[in-house]
C-alpha cells in the first residue's frame, strides 16, 4: 500500500517538476526580455532628451535643419510600437497597468509631437524674419539717412526705433515692457505717411518686425509648452511599473525554482524509497517463502515422526500381544488341558487353583483389552465423559475393598477417605480406570513392599485422590514420555507390564477435565495427585490429540 503511494508520489512529483521546469523556461524573465523593454525605455528617454535639446537649439537658431528632430520623432514612434507589446512575464493586471501607462505616455508623446510640428512651422518663419529683418531695416534706415529730405530723416529715426526695439525683444524674450515698446514703435512707423516713396520697403520691414514680435512670443510659448509635456515622467512611470513587474517575476521565478528543486528532490527521494521498499518487499517475500518451506519441512518431519511412532506403536503392540497375551493364554490353555485330563482325579482344591488361574489370566487379558480400548478411543477423540450423580465416599470405600484382596503380604494399603467427599458428579468408569491403574502401579513398582497411601478428599468442587508409594520411583529422563502408550520406564527391570497403565490414567484424567500431578524421587517413591471436578455440568469436551492439532495449525499457516 505504502509502496503504491510512493510510486504515485514520485510520478506526480516528477510530472509536476517537469511542468514547472517547462513553465519556468517559457516565462522566465530572462535578461533578454528585460533588456529589450528596459533598453527601449532608456532609448525613449534619450530620444526625448535629444528632441528637447534639438528644439532648444533650433529656437536659438543654432541648428541647420530639422532632420534630427524628425528622426528622433520617428525613432520614438518605433520604440512606442515595441513598448505596446507588454513583456511576456507580466501578469494580466501588470500588462494592463503597463498598457495604461504606455498609452498615457503615448498621449503625452502625441501632444509633444503636435507641439513639435507647430514649433518647426513657427520657428521657420521666425528664423527667416530674424535673419532678414536687421538687414532690411538697416538698409532702409541707411538709405533714408542718405536722403537729404528731412522727412526721410524722421522716417529713418522711426525705422531705427523699430530696429532697436524689435531686436531687443528678440534678444531678451519675455520682457513685457520691451514688447510694448516694440509694438508702439511698429505702430508709429505704420501710421507714418510715406513722404519719400519708400512704401514698399517700409512695408517689408514692418511685416518682419511684426513677425518677430508676434512669432517670437508664440515660439517661446510653444517651446515652453513642449518642454513641459510630461513625457519624461510618463516614461519613468512605465519604467517603474515594468521594473516592479520584472522584480516580481524574478522572485516568482526564484520561488518556482525552489518548488522545482523541492519537487525534484521529492521525486528523487520517493524514487529511492520506492526502490528500497521494492527490494525489501522482495526480501520479505523471500523470507516468508523460506518460512513456509521450513514449516512444510517441519510438518514433513513431524509426519515422518508420527509415522515412525505409529510403526513403533504397531511393533510394540505386536511384541506386547505376543508376550502379554500369549502368557495368560498359555496359562488358560494348559490349565484347561490339565483340568480336562486330570480334573476328575484331582482334589477339589487343586481344581479350584487351576480354575482361579484361568480366571486371573482372563481377567488380566480383559484389563489389558480395556486399557487398549480406552487409549484407542482417546486417540480417536471418542473417549467420552458421562458424569452421573455418585456417592463418592461409598464408591471409594468399595473400590478400596475390591482392590485390597489383590495385595500380597508385602504390601499394605493405608487409606484415608474423607467422609466429606459425599455425593458428586463423576464418570464412574473413568475414575475406576484412573484409580485402579494408579493403585496397581503403586503396588507393582514397590517390589520391596511397603505402605501404599491412598487419600481421597474434597477440595471445593473437586475431588482429590492421592496415591503414594515407596517404590522405585520414576527417573527424570522418562518424565517426558511417561504417559506415552507402551512406554516403560528405564528402571523397571523385570517387573512385568504393558506400558499402558499411566497412558490410560492420563487420558482418563484429561477426559474428565481434571489435572494430574506427580512427585517422584528415583528409589524413594512416587506420589500421584489427581484432581477432578465433580460439580454438576462439568463435561469437558473431548480434546483432539496433540499431533492432530499441530497438523491442522500447520495446514492453516501454509
Amino acid at each position: 500500500m505504502i509502496r503504491r503511494y510512493t510510486r504515485v508520489l514520485w510520478v506526480v512529483a516528477a510530472v509536476a517538476a517537469g511542468g514547472f521546469a517547462a513553465y519556468d523556461v517559457r516565462y522566465k524573465p530572462g535578461p533578454k526580455l528585460n533588456d529589450r523593454y528596459s533598453r527601449d525605455l532608456r532609448e525613449l528617454q534619450a530620444l526625448d532628451a535629444r528632441l528637447d535639446g534639438e528644439v532648444m537649439r533650433s529656437r536659438q537658431g543654432l541648428v541647420a535643419h530639422y532632420d534630427e528632430i524628425v528622426r528622433a520623432r520617428a525613432a520614438e514612434d518605433a520604440v512606442m510600437k515595441r513598448l505596446a507589446l507588454a513583456p511576456e512575464f507580466a501578469r494580466p493586471n501588470e500588462k494592463q497597468e503597463l498598457a495604461d501607462l504606455v498609452s498615457r505616455l503615448s498621449v503625452a508623446l502625441e501632444e509633444k509631437s503636435a507641439l513639435v510640428e507647430e514649433f518647426k512651422t513657427e520657428n521657420a518663419v521666425l528664423r527667416n524674419s530674424v535673419r532678414f529683418f536687421p538687414v532690411a531695416a538697416k538698409e532702409l534706415r541707411d538709405s533714408l539717412l542718405a536722403d537729404p529730405d528731412p522727412d526721410a530723416k524722421r522716417l529713418a529715426a522711426e525705422v531705427n526705433d523699430v530696429l532697436v526695439s524689435v531686436l531687443e525683444v528678440h534678444d531678451v524674450p519675455g520682457s513685457g515692457e520691451g514688447r510694448a515698446q516694440a509694438e508702439a514703435a511698429i505702430e508709429a512707423l505704420s501710421n507714418e505717411a510715406d513722404p519719400v516713396g519708400r512704401d514698399r520697403d517700409v512695408d517689408i520691414v514692418l511685416r518682419h518686425a511684426k513677425a518677430i514680435v508676434e512669432r517670437g512670443g508664440r515660439v517661446d510659448a510653444i517651446t515652453n509648452a513642449l518642454l513641459a509635456v510630461p513625457t519624461a515622467r510618463a516614461t519613468v512611470e512605465v519604467d517603474v511599473a515594468h521594473e516592479r513587474a520584472f522584480r516580481r517575476s524574478l522572485s516568482d521565478s526564484a520561488r518556482r525554482r525552489i518548488i522545482l528543486l523541492v519537487l525534484g528532490f521529492a521525486a528523487l527521494v520517493a524514487f529511492g524509497v520506492d526502490t528500497i521498499l521494492r527490494l525489501s518487499r522482495s526480501a520479505a517475500q523471500e523470507r516468508a517463502a523460506n518460512e513456509r518451506l521450513a514449516e512444510a519441512n517441519r510438518a514433513l518431519v513431524r509426519e515422518k515422526e508420527r509415522e515412525r511412532e505409529l510403526l513403533d506403536l504397531k511393533s510394540k503392540f505386536v511384541s506386547m500381544t505376543s508376550h502379554e497375551f500369549r502368557t495368560p493364554l498359555s496359562v488358560i490353555l494348559s490349565s484347561t488341558e490339565l483340568l480336562e485330563a486330570y480334573g476328575d482325579r484331582w482334589s477339589p482344591a487343586k481344581r479350584a487353583d487351576h480354575f482361579a488361574r484361568i480366571k486371573n489370566a482372563s481377567a488380566g487379558m480383559e484389563d489389558m483389552l480395556d486399557s487398549i480400548l480406552v487409549i484407542g478411543r482417546s486417540e480417536m477423540g471418542r473417549l467420552e465423559c458421562n458424569p452421573a450423580a455418585l456417592d463418592l465416599t461409598r464408591w471409594t470405600h468399595h473400590l478400596v475393598e475390591t482392590f485390597r484382596p489383590t495385595l500380597g503380604a508385602k504390601h499394605r494399603l493405608v487409606e484415608t477417605i474423607d467422609p466429606e467427599l459425599e455425593e458428586g458428579f463423576a464418570d464412574e468408569k473413568l475414575l475406576n480406570h484412573i484409580l485402579t491403574n494408579l493403585l496397581s502401579n503403586a503396588v507393582k513398582y514397590s517390589p520391596e513392599g511397603g505402605d501404599v497411601r491412598f487419600d481421597a478428599r474434597r477440595e471445593g468442587d473437586s475431588a482429590v485422590f492421592v496415591v503414594a508409594d515407596k517404590g522405585i520411583g520414576i527417573p527424570k529422563q522418562d518424565l517426558a514420555r511417561l504417559f506415552d502408550s507402551f512406554h516403560r520406564c528405564s528402571n523397571v527391570g523385570h517387573i512385568r507390564g504393558t506400558g499402558l497403565g499411566l497412558a490410560v490414567v492420563k487420558r482418563a484424567v484429561d477426559a474428565h477435565g481434571g489435572t494430574l500431578e506427580l512427585e517422584s524421587t528415583e528409589g524413594e517413591g512416587t506420589t500421584f495427585t489427581v484432581k477432578v471436578p465433580i460439580h454438576e455440568r462439568v463435561v469437558p469436551a473431548a480434546k483432539p490429540s496433540e499431533p492432530q492439532r499441530d497438523a491442522t495449525a500447520a495446514a492453516r499457516s501454509s
Binding site: 517547462a22 535578461p31 535643419h65 514612434d77
Partner: protein, 335 residues
Amino acid sequence: MRARTLAFVCGLWLAGCVDETSDQASPSQLDLLRPGTATIDDPIEPLPLSVEVDARKVALGQRLFDDPLLSGNGKQACSTCHHLANGGDDGRPKSHQEDRQPAILNTPTVFNLVFNFKYHWGGGYSELAAQLAVPVESPRVYATTFDEIVKKLQGSADYRRAFSAIYPEGITKETLTDAIVELERSFITPNAPFDKFMRGDDSAISERQKAGYALFKSHGCISCHQGMNVGGNMFQKLGVMREFFEERGEVGPGDLGRYNVTKRDEDRHVFRVPSLRNVAVTGPYFHDGSVETLEEAVQVMSEYQLGRPLTKEQVSLIVEFLGTLTGEYQGKVLQ
C-alpha cells in the same frame, strides 16, 4: 525507463537554471539616427549613396508598380503617373486618368520618400504602408480595394509563385504592401552635383550655382527647405507673409491642405513643405500644379513666404542652384 524519465526531469530543471546571458545587444536605434556620410555643418545634407533593401522584394514591388492589373479598370499602373526616368511624377499640373475623376492635387514625386517625415500634401500619413491606401482606394487613382487586388493577383500563377517564394503566407494585403513599400524605400536619387559638392568635390557645381546656394541660404529659403531632402521635414502655411489664397481667390478643397486632415482652422492652407530634390524635373509646381516654371515658383515663394521680392538675377541664381539638386536613379540622371 524510469532512469530515463528521471534524467528527462533533471534535464528540464537544469535547462530552467541556465541564465540567458548570451543575448547580444542589437545595434542601438540611436546609431540609426545618423545615416549618410559625415558632412560639414550645412543646412542641407547629401543623400546616402544607397539604402539597404531586400532585392527580391524590390523586384516583386517593381512588377506590381508597373502592372495595370492592379488598378480598378486595369488600365493604369503606378508608373502611369510616377515616371521613374523623370521626376517620379507625371509632369502634368494634375493627373486625369481615363474613366476617372480629375485629381485635385499635383501628383507628388515618389523619389526619396524614405527621407520625408510625412506623406501627401496634407501630411496625413506618417508611414509608407499606410499612405498606400490612398492611391489604391481613391476614385481619382485606382478606385479599387486591396481585397480586389489580392483576388486578381491570386488569379495569376506567376504572382502566386513570386509571392510564395518570398512570403510563406502568399498573397495578402500585408505582403503586397510590404513589397511595394520595399520598392518605395529603394527610390532614392543620390549623386546630385550638389551632393558631390557637399562631399568635397568643389568643381561639381559652378560658381553661379554656389552663389545661388549662398543666396538660397541668406535670402531665407533655407528656413523651410532644409535637411537631407531640402524640405519634407516640416509643415508650413502657403502665404506666410502675404495671403496667397486671398489674393488668388477660388479656393478649392485641394487648397485647404492639412485642414483636410486635422480640421483645425489654423491648419488651413498648411502643406507639407515639399522636397526640392530633383525640383528642376518635377514641374509644374505647387500643390495644384498652377506654376509652370521654376523661376515663377521661386518668385512666388519669395513674395508670399519670405515677404520680399527677388531680382531676376537673384531668381536665376537660385534656379541654377536648384538645378544641382537633380540626382540619379539607378545610375541615370533624371530627365
